[in-house]
Symmetry: C2
Subunit: 470 residues, 2 copies
C-alpha cells in the first residue's frame, strides 16, 4: 500500500532554497535577543556582532544532522503516546486565538470556560493527537498565571500529550514542573519527551528573548520544540514565494541550530507557517493558495534535511462558517496531508486568520481531518482486492450489493461520515432540512455535556491546581 | 518551474490494475448492445458471443497506442481553442443535473431559461475552457429536440468549444451538423475537432446502444470523445477500491478500443467518475474521500497508457451551499489538479450527487477553480526570486512592503480573490457583514444581466435556431 505523495519542488529547486538560506545565515545573520544563546552559539563557531549572530554553513549542517527524524511523546495514558515523523500526521487543535466566534455568529473575547470546553472537544476527538496548548487566550485569567491555568486545563481534561508554554524561560520551567507532577520524572523534570512547545521566530531574521528563553529551557530538559517561521510575503518577507521559502528556512535552521547546540539530539520540528499578505489591507492571508503551496514546499525542504515538519491546518481567513471557511480549510489540510506533513497545528477550530476560534468549526474541521486521513490510508492491491474472479462471477449487468465480498469489505474500506450529509434530497427534507451548522452546534453541546474527564489522582490534581492559581 | 505532482499508486500497483483489467476484458468480456460495433470489433480480432465481446490483450494495447496523448479542440473564436493533455487542466461546467437549486434554497426542475443563464455564467468564466453540454436538463423542452436546443444555447451564448449530444447516433449526427454550420467543414462535417462528447459505460461491463451509436458517429467524424465509467463501489462495482479501479479501467479501455477500431487516432479522453456507495441508503456518494482517491489513481493509470484523463470536479453530496458543499468540492478539484488531470467535467455548479445545479455554487466553484490553478502554477526560482540580496539589504527586523521588489512582483505572484473575503473582522462588520451566498447571488445577476453574447452571423444563428426547434 503506497502513500499518496505530493511534490511541488524539483531537487534542484530544493537545493537553490537551501543554498540561499545558508547564504542568509552566514552573511546577513539573525538578531538573537538573548545573551546566553549568543554565547553558546559563539562557542560553537558562530560569529557574533552585538545582537547579530552569523552562522557558518558547517555549524548549521552539523547541528541539524543531530536532530532525530522521528520521536515519541509520552502521554499519561500510554495509549495516547504519539510519534512525530512516522507515516501518519499528528493533529493538534487551533492555537492562540484571542476571540471565540459563537454559533450565533457573535464574536467576543475568549474566556477560561471556553478554553475548558475546547479542551473537551479536543480530548474527545479521535483525530487530535495532542490536547492542545493555547487553545484560546483566556482573557479572564490574569497574565501572570494564565500559562499555568491553560496547562492545567489541558492536562486535567485530557490524557493526551499537551503543549508547553513558550512565553519565556520562567513559564517554560513552570510547564516542565507541572508535567513532572504527572509523568515519570527526575527531580521534578520529566525523563522522557511528554509535551511539545511552539517557538516562533520574528520575521525577518529575529529571535526574541522570551521565545529563546523557552527554547533553551525545553532543549535543556530534552523536551521537543517546534521552531516555526511565519513570513508574510510582501510585508515581512519577499513577495516571491521562493524568497519567502528561503527566508523562512534560514530562520527555522537558526532555531534548530541553537536547540542542537544547547543539547544534541533535542527533538525538533521544522515549522512552516508563512503565507502572503493581502495587499489591499496589509493583513495576513492564511487561506491563500500561495500559502497552501508554501506548505507543500516546506514539507519537502524539511524532509530533505531529515527533519519532521509542521505545516498546514484547517485555517481560513473567513469570519464565519461559510463555504470559504470550508474550502480554505480543506485546501490547507489536504495539501499538508498529501505532502506528508508530520505535525499539524491548527488542525481544527481556527477562523479569521488565527484571530478567532469556533467550536462549531472544530466539529467541521474534525470531519475534514477524518476525510484527509481516509485519503492518506489508500487501499490494498492483493488479488482479492482486485477482485477479478468476483467481477467475472457477477458479469456484465450484474450487481455487487449482495456479494459476500461487499459484506466482508465495506466497513473497513469505506469511511463513515460523522457530519457530511449523504441523504437524498427527499430524505433530507423529510428529516427537517437540518443545516450543518445546527448539527455542529448540537454536537458541541453533546460532547461538552457528556464528556468524561479522565481519571487523575486527586492529590496530583490539587498540586496542579495550585500551580494554575485558579 | 516544476509542476505539483500527486502520486498515490506505485508502478507495481498500476501494473496490477492494468493486468486485472486485461484479464476482465479477455475472460469476462463486455456486453455491447450494438451489432455494428460488435462486427467491427470481431473483424479486428475480438471474440463475439451474442451481445458479449471478449477483447484479446493485443487488440486493446494496440488500439490505445493509436490514441493521441494530446489534441486541440477548435473554437469559433480561435482565442478560445483548447488543448487537452498539455500542462493545464481544461475545466467544463456541471453536466446533466435535472434540478436547479435557487439561492433561496428552493429546488425545482430545470428549464431552458436556466440553461441559457448557466451558459452565460460559463461563457463569462475565465476558468471554463468549454461552454458546456447538458448544463442542466431543460424539462420544458420536448425530448425530441432537447439535444439540439441545448447545443444551440451553448453555441450562441459562447464562442468557446462545446459538448455534443451523446444520446444516440441520430442526436450525435445532429450535433455534427450544427457544428458544421459554424466551423470550417466538408459536406457539413467539421474538418477539425470542434467539440467533445461524453460517452458513459454502464457498470459493470456494458455499453448501451445509444452511447455506442454516438461514439461511432463521433469517431467516424474524428471528433473527440470522453469514455467514462462511473462504478459505485459496493453496488455496481467491487467494494474494494482496487477492484473498482480495475473494473473502471476495463470499461474505459473497451470504449477506447472501439473508438480506435472505428477510426485510428480518434481523440479520446480516459474518463474516471467512479466513487463509493453510501451503504445506509444505497446512493452514490461523490463527496467521499474514497472517490477523491480514485480520481488521483485514475489519472496515474490513464497517463501510464499515454492517454489524457478526465476526472474530478467541484462535486458534492450536499443539498445546499454549506461547508460540506465547499470542502467536498475543494477536495475533489484539488486532488484532480494535483494529480495532473487533463479535463475536468463538473468543475462548477454541481450539488446533491449530480442531481442539482446551483448558479450561486457555480460562482463559488469558479473561485475554487482559480485557487487550484494558482496552486498549480507554482513559482520561479531565479536569483531575483530567491532574493538573497534583497533580504540582506532589508536585514533583521526590516520590512518588504516598500521595497521595489514587492511592487514589481506582487501582482504576478499573488492571486486576487474574486469572492473570498480577506477583510479584518472590523472591516467586514463595517461593510455590513455580507455573506458569501449574498455575494454569489449578486454576482449571478450581474453576469447574466450584463452578459455580451458573442457575435454570430444572423443567417447562421437562424439556421441553428431552426435545428433547435425553439
Amino acid at each position: 500500500m503506497s502513500k499518496p505523495i505530493l511534490t511541488t519542488l524539483s531537487p534542484e529547486e530544493i537545493e537553490k532554497v537551501k543554498t540561499a538560506s545558508l547564504a542568509l545565515l552566514e552573511r546577513t545573520g539573525v538578531n538573537i535577543d538573548h545573551a546566553y544563546a549568543r554565547e553558546v552559539l559563539q562557542r560553537a563557531g558562530a560569529k557574533v556582532d552585538g545582537a547579530r549572530v552569523f552562522f557558518p554553513p558547517k555549524l548549521v549542517m552539523e547541528a541539524i544532522a543531530k536532530a532525530p527524524r522521528q520521536f515519541t511523546i509520552y502521554a499519561r495514558n500510554p495509549n495516547c503516546n504519539i510519534t512525530i515523523g512516522q507515516e501518519e500526521p499528528v493533529f493538534a487543535p487551533g492555537y492562540g486565538a484571542p476571540y471565540v466566534t459563537l454559533a450565533s455568529g457573535e464574536r467576543r473575547k475568549a474566556t477560561f470556560v471556553d478554553f475548558v470546553n475546547i479542551a473537551k472537544l479536543s480530548g474527545s476527538s479521535s483525530n487530535m493527537g495532542v490536547s492542545g496548548g493555547v487553545l484560546v487566550e483566556p482573557s479572564d485569567i490574569p497574565e501572570k498565571n494564565r500559562h499555568n491555568a491553560m496547562l492545567y486545563a489541558c492536562i486535567v481534561n485530557s490524557d493526551k500529550p499537551f503543549m508547553g508554554s513558550a512565553t519565556g524561560e520562567e513559564h517554560a520551567k513552570d510547564s516542565l514542573k507541572m508535567a513532572g507532577m504527572i509523568m515519570d520524572s527526575d527531580q521534578g523534570i520529566p525523563k522522557q519527551p511528554v509535551m511539545i512547545s511552539l517557538i516562533n521566530t520574528i520575521t525577518p531574521l529575529m529571535l526574541d528573548e522570551r521565545m529563546v528563553g523557552a527554547l533553551i529551557a525545553y532543549a535543556e530538559a530534552g523536551q521537543p520544540v517546534i521552531i516555526a517561521s511565519l513570513g508574510m510575503a510582501g510585508a515581512t518577507a519577499p513577495t516571491t514565494l521562493a524568497g519567502t521559502l528561503a527566508l523562512q528556512n534560514a530562520e527555522v535552521l537558526a532555531g534548530i541550530t541553537l536547540a542542537q547546540t544547547i543539547r544534541e539530539g533535542t527533538p525538533v520540528v521544522y515549522g512552516s507557517a508563512s503565507s502572503i499578505t493581502e495587499m489591499r489591507n496589509g493583513s495576513l492571508s492564511i487561506g491563500a493558495p500561495e500559502g497552501a503551496w508554501i506548505i507543500a514546499a516546506a514539507v519537502q525542504i524539511a524532509h530533505s534535511y531529515g527533519l519532521p515538519c509542521r505545516a498546514g491546518g484547517c485555517v481560513t481567513d473567513s469570519k464565519t462558517l461559510d463555504p470559504q471557511a470550508a474550502y480554505e480549510s480543506m485546501m490547507n489540510l489536504q495539501v499538508a496531508g498529501m505532502a506528508g506533513v508530520d505535525f499539524v497545528l491548527h488542525a481544527a477550530g481556527i477562523l479569521e486568520s488565527y484571530m478567532s476560534f469556533s467550536m462549531e468549526k472544530f466539529i467541521i474541521d474534525d470531519e475534514i481531518c477524518s476525510m484527509v486521513r481516509r485519503f492518506l490510508r489508500g487501499t490494498k492491491f492483493e488479488a482479492e482486492d482486485l477482485a477479478v474472479q468476483l467481477v467475472n462471477e457477477v458479469g456484465p449487468g450484474g450487481q455487487f450489493l449482495t456479494a459476500d465480498h461487499t459484506y466482508q469489505n465495506f466497513r473497513k474500506e469505506f469511511w463513515t461520515p460523522a457530519l457530511s450529509n449523504r441523504e437524498t434530497y427527499d430524505q433530507w427534507k423529510m428529516n427537517g432540512l437540518v443545516s450543518m451548522l445546527t448539527q455542529a452546534e448540537q454536537r458541541v453541546h453533546e460532547i461538552i455535556e457528556n464528556y468524561e474527564i479522565p481519571y487523575l489522582e486527586k492529590s496530583v490534581e490539587q498540586k496542579l491546581k495550585e500551580m494554575a492559581g485558579i
